[in-house]
């Protein structure tokens, strides 16, 4: 697992209070991991802080699954 991927998964575990083995790359935040809109916002903010980048709302709306988040950060870091 890449460094980014493992950091992203740590953030998800921390923010959503799910167990690490649930956070597979194909897992959807809302459907699979039980996130609500506030969770998603906090997740985006936590990733912005960790990776020191900005994710605008339009981009954020496309981040639906764990792998979307990892790909976005790898591309934009």
């Amino acid at each position: 697992m890449s460094d980014v991927a493992s950091k992203v998964k740590d953030i998800i575990v921390d923010q959503l209070g799910v167990s690490a083995d649930e956070v597979v790359e194909g897992a959807a935040f809302v459907e699979d991991l039980g996130a609500d809109s506030l969770d998603l916002t906090e997740l985006i903010m936590a990733m912005e802080e960790e990776f020191d980048l900005e994710i605008d709302d339009e981009q954020a709306q496309k981040i639906l699954k764990v792998k979307d988040a990892i790909e976005f950060i790898e591309k934009n870091q």
Binding site: L38, E42, M45
Partner: protein, 247 residues
């Protein structure tokens, strides 16, 4: 549980209603931090008074009209250094005048401090409280935000806006165990009202069923309730403390 200090933050806490709220929350057991803009000697007195009674307090010079400074304050002083249990948005100014003569700068400044400043404090506090899954926000609005007042279009608009901000934030943060309420004082005995001519005070009293001006401590008691253990099931409300002048 962390051993970070459990802090109540009050904006504009060096005098008037803010001072009474600061002192009351300190007496309730919070480490109480407050902001002030002018008169550092007054702020020091408030801190000394609280410490004398065995409480803890800190004063910060911070302009509620400066969003960058507010964000920086949270980053440098609060994040990771305290558990923000309570935020009381009290800081406010007036620049009265009739609408037709009201200057842009008087409109802008009042909105900037009384409404935008509260937004900025709430936005920062929401990030921390949401993560904590716990917190209380109390916004000090005004009876004139509910009923209007000739000569205060800017102030009334800001205070009415604060009620909308309160209710929206209450809905957003409820799922995180954070409550957001407003307290709407009526005419309160402060430096400002003590300078009014007797006639003006008499005229005010005819509008107040309880026939007296309120005390800063009346407002502090309402804030204490909303910030304390008894207020946990109350959110999105405007608690009017006005002697019945508006019902």
């Amino acid at each position: 549980m962390s051993d970070l200090p459990k802090v109540a933050l009050v904006t504009g806490g060096s005098r008037g209603i803010g001072r009474a709220v600061t002192e009351r929350l300190a007496a309730d057991g919070f480490e109480t931090w407050f902001t002030y803009v002018s008169r550092p000697e007054e702020a020091e007195k408030v801190v000394a008074g609280i410490e004398e009674k065995g409480g803890k307090a800190r004063a910060f010079k911070l302009d509620s009209g400066d969003r960058d400074a507010i964000a920086a304050f949270f980053k440098e002083e609060i994040k990771g250094k305290a558990e923000l249990e309570v935020l009381v948005n009290n800081a406010g100014i007036t620049r009265d005048g009739l609408l037709m003569r009201m200057k842009d700068e008087d409109w802008d400044r009042v909105l900037q401090i009384n409404l935008t400043g509260c937004f900025a404090f709430q936005r920062e506090a929401a990030k921390l409280m949401s993560k904590q899954r716990r917190g209380r926000i109390v916004n000090i609005t005004s009876v004139v935000g509910q009923m209007g007042n000739a000569g205060q279009a800017n102030y009334c608009a800001a205070k009415a806006g604060l009620i909308g901000l309160t209710k929206s934030t209450a809905r957003e943060l409820a799922a995180r165990g954070v409550t957001v309420n407003a307290v709407a004082p009526g005419f309160i005995q402060t430096d400002m009202t003590s300078e009014l001519p007797e006639q003006a005070v008499e005229a005010m009293l005819t509008q107040i069923p309880l026939k007296r001006l309120g005390e800063s401590d009346d407002i502090a008691a309402a804030v204490s309730y909303l910030a304390g253990p008894g207020g946990g099931y109350v959110t999105g409300q405007v608690l009017a403390v006005n002697g019945g002048m508006y019902m």
